[in-house]
């Protein structure tokens, strides 16, 4: 691994904050990273290290355009974001937003992502928030930078600002195109020192030429050639790979350990800090081989929970609840109903199973710590490492190479803390990459959940009562999207992280899982809507439209229905059609599916999925489609079992007048319900528990 010269505060070049010092290095790094995402390899190498961790006055995103972008002396523009790239495609779409607003070609933009030395502070990459919340300040920064460039060009060219145009990284006189100055000539390599009194407006979407066009991923070349670097691909001189001793069960405690066998293994070092026992070796596989020689005895776990008794436990462990939403009166609603239906729904724990296991490399040098990690939350990792090592946060730098899926599980950085502890013990850089087994043990899980619903409709088929209790899995998307006068939603216990009582609630760590809370809430609520529709003698589509007041949601449902192109009738129709809808944090989704069920095998074959999603203004329609398709496919996994194919998923509706909403998660949340409803329509048997495995389907058919 080539390590370039490190610039530190105090260096002359650093102090001037200008010149060509970085461009050559940056090109070098671009080559290493293979494009798309730039990973810097040593402290302060980058452009303006002062901006690392910058925050606005309110603790949110900063106001200074320099925090977000830098125009290099070669005219290339670097975009800095504390967000990370884990497949969701913001490496492309954020670059598009910047290119659009600054008027530079997309391929002139380099992305620096998740580098705590260089990027503005960010709480993390989760909740489909990157475009929605980071996009606007990025656009504003680019618009202001463009405004400054116009001002500088005006002075330089002697042309009034309003007679100047910007295009392809150049400002020119609208009447005399030969009169021009490139951005590089105007500010190349320097901080933007001029600030504008009035913030220039951002472009209206109708003026866009980059944003809104289907654009291939800018990281594709690096990823198809194997050049893309993930955390496990970073090499440092003297680094050792760790294999860590693991208990047989959560809650088991270490009684005795004999490491003498491993100590004799050639090249192996054993390090220990309390319960953390690890074997270090220059080769990861040999570290694992040596670890197998460690003999350990454990006190068994006191946990009595298993997947048969977990639901009773979840319902009884926490008596306190909070009101998520309440309107009207349940008693009054109950009096208005012509029919009331009560049901319970259940969901099991689900692993994130990211393609790339949790990985981290930690180097401690002269009291400064460098971390490379597969994390969704680099700034959180920075805090955790500082706390673990008893250092100041300023002494910890976290860099985030490409991340091989996050899915919520890489908000928690257990592997980073382990690598930090081991690097300190070993006095040399230590790399920790969880094995797949460790991943299925130490990663957090989507919490198992129970939902109780009592609801009813009146003689007109209008839902008038909605009494919803959710247990231990988070309240996101638990508010009905339907127009219901008398409703109450109670959430018991904590959210997906388990809340304060997590240790006694769940037998292992739980956490956000793509569309957290929502994917199981929607399974319950949208399954139940179908139960109501049947009881009301209506088909599931008409019943929904009949009970929706939100015009935007109706449009989305109608768009999906039109593309689905099949008429729903009262379930079970024997045809296997299903529908589920949601409002996921402002993104509206309607998903329809057609399935065939092999009753003898209990096997579900998904023939077709149509997904209409209104996610507001779409920056990269190609990227949005990829996210939705991925959501549909991944959703089939949690709904049924992994590995089942689907037929098609499409974006049918775009709404550019609405500011961009999130796209990485919404569709995944509908998949449990849409398939439960389609299965019911096919065979007349409802599955109340996720996943809907062949065994459960066969059992339900027998019952």
């Amino acid at each position: 691994m080539k390590r370039d010269k490190t610039l530190r505060p105090g260096d002359d070049e650093y102090a001037t904050g200008s010149d060509a010092r970085t461009s050559l290095e940056r090109r070098e790094f671009l080559k290493l990273a293979g494009g798309g995402l730039v990973v810097f390899f040593a402290v302060g190498e980058g452009l303006d290290a002062q901006m690392g961790g910058a925050r606005g006055a309110d603790g949110g995103y900063p106001d200074d355009p320099n925090a977000y972008l830098n125009v290099g002396p070669d005219g290339r523009v670097t975009c800095f974001t504390g967000k990370i790239e884990m497949g969701q495609g913001i490496v492309t779409s954020l670059a598009m937003m910047l290119a659009e607003e600054l008027d530079v070609p997309l391929d002139a933009v380099d992305m620096v992502m998740g580098d705590t030395d260089l990027c503005p502070y960010d709480a993390g990459t989760f909740g489909s928030r990157s475009t929605k919340y980071f996009g606007p300040p990025l656009r504003q920064a680019a618009a202001e930078a463009r405004g400054v460039l116009l001002k500088l060009a005006s002075a330089r060219l002697g042309v009034a600002e309003d007679a100047l145009l910007t295009k392809n990284g150049t400002v020119h006189d609208s009447k005399d195109p030969a009169k021009k100055a490139t951005y590089a000539e105007l500010v190349g390599g320097k901080k933007i020192e001029v600030r504008l009194e009035n913030k220039p407006p951002i472009k209206h979407h109708t003026k866009h030429s980059v944003s809104g066009r289907p654009t291939p991923r800018t990281d594709a070349r690096a990823k198809v050639t194997g050049e893309a670097r993930f955390s496990g691909d970073i090499r440092l001189p003297g680094m050792l790979y760790a294999a860590i001793l693991r208990p047989p069960a959560h809650g088991a405690t270490l009684k005795n350990v004999d490491t003498s066998g491993a100590e004799k293994f050639p090249g192996a070092r054993v390090v220990r800090d309390g319960d953390l026992v690890a074997v270090l070796h220059e080769k990861p596989d040999l570290a694992a081989e040596a670890l197998a020689l460690v003999e350990a005895e454990y006190e068994p776990s006191p946990s009595k929970l298993d997947d048969a008794n977990i639901f009773d436990h979840i319902k009884t462990v926490e008596a306190r609840s909070e009101v998520v939403v309440e309107s009207g009166s349940l008693d009054e609603g109950a009096m208005l109903t012509s029919k009331t239906v009560e049901r319970s729904y259940f969901a099991h724990y689900v692993a994130h199973a990211p393609s790339e296991p949790h990985t981290a490399l930690v180097q401690i040098e002269d009291g400064k710590v460098n971390v490379w990690a597969s994390t969704q939350s680099p700034f959180r990792a920075k805090q955790e490492v500082a706390r673990t090592l008893g250092l100041r946060e300023a002494d910890v730098s976290v860099r985030t190479p490409f991340v091989g899926c996050g899915l919520g599980g890489k908000n928690q950085g257990g592997q980073i803390v382990e690598a930090a502890r081991l690097a300190k013990l070993a006095g040399t850089p230590v790399h920790v990459a969880w094995t797949r087994q460790e991943e299925f043990f130490y990663d957090s899980f989507r919490p198992a959940a129970v939902y109780d619903i009592r609801s009813g409709f009146d003689a007109a088929g209008k839902i008038v009562l909605w009494d919803y209790k959710l247990y231990q899995a988070g309240s996101r998307s638990s508010q009905p999207v339907y127009d219901i006068p008398h409703k109450r939603v109670l959430s018991f216990g904590g959210g997906w992280g388990g809340g304060e009582g997590a240790a006694r609630t769940h037998p292992f760590a739980t956490g956000a899982w793509r569309g957290p809370g929502s994917n199981t809430n929607i399974f319950a609520t949208e399954s139940h809507i179908d139960v109501l529709a049947e009881a009301a003698g209506m088909d599931p589509l008409s019943f929904r439209l009949h009970n929706l007041a939100d015009a935007r949601m109706k449009r989305v449902v109608e768009a999906a229905a039109k593309q689905f192109g099949r008429a729903f009738s009262r379930a079970p129709s024997g045809r296997g059609y299903g529908i589920a809808i949601t409002d996921y944090l402002g993104t509206y989704v309607a998903t329809m599916a057609e399935v065939a069920v092999d009753k003898a095998k209990g096997a579900v074959r998904v023939l077709r999925v149509v997904c209409a999603q209104d996610t507001g203004e779409v920056i990269n329609p190609e990227g949005a489609r990829m996210q939705i398709e991925g959501c549909v496919t991944m959703g089939l996994g949690y709904a049924l079992t992994e590995g089942i194919r689907f037929k098609n998923g499409r974006v049918l509706d775009e709404n550019p007048d609405l500011a961009p909403q999130g796209c990485g998660e919404p569709a995944v949340t509908t998949m449990g319900a849409v398939l439960a409803n389609a299965i019911y329509d096919a065979i007349g048997v409802r599955l109340f528990m996720l996943p809907m495995t062949p065994a459960r389907i066969k059992d339900a058919l027998k019952a």
Binding site: M86, G87, Q88, G89, P216, R217, D219, A220, R221, A222, K223, V224, T225, G226, E227, A228, R229, F230, G232, D233, R235, Y241, E282, K283, P284, D285, L286, A353, P354, S355, E356, P357, F402, V403, G404, C405, L407, A433, T435, R436, E622, R625, M626, E629, G630, C631, V632, T633, M634, G637, E642, G643, R645, F646, N648, G649
Partner: protein, 164 residues
Amino acid sequence: MDKTIRFELNGKEVAIETSAERMLLWVLRTDLDHTGTKYGCGEGYCGACTVLVDGKPTFSCQFPLAKAEGRSVLTIEGLARGGRLHPLQQAFADEGALQCGYCTPGMILQAYALLLRKPDPTEAEIADALETNLCRCGAYNRIVKAVRAASQKMTMKVTGHEAR
């Protein structure tokens, strides 16, 4: 017990002195710095570590180095020639057949092995051949499309880039 193992890696002879029982995956990634080949499960379930050995798709996490002796190993780093992407690589990029990209090298090599056996596979045959390779991002439909697109380009020799 260390031994010297010789094999051809992406067309170049390599000789490596190490324990011959080690799995090829780790030797490639750590000893030979070919990090395009990924660890996914270590048990041959996910296909992230797929390489070609004498033209056959092989899970390198299950393949002892000793067995590589005298054979020819192709990793993702060996697929592009002279900076020019192989049609499969190009098709994966064009079709957006990747998201996080972690499974991509193994996926492309599995597809490459299929095209060596069967230059013009149907979509069902492609899906079947890629059954061993998992993509958690769920890019499967696009992956199948990309392989199909590449096979059509290659059989038409539009690019003049033949299966190697």
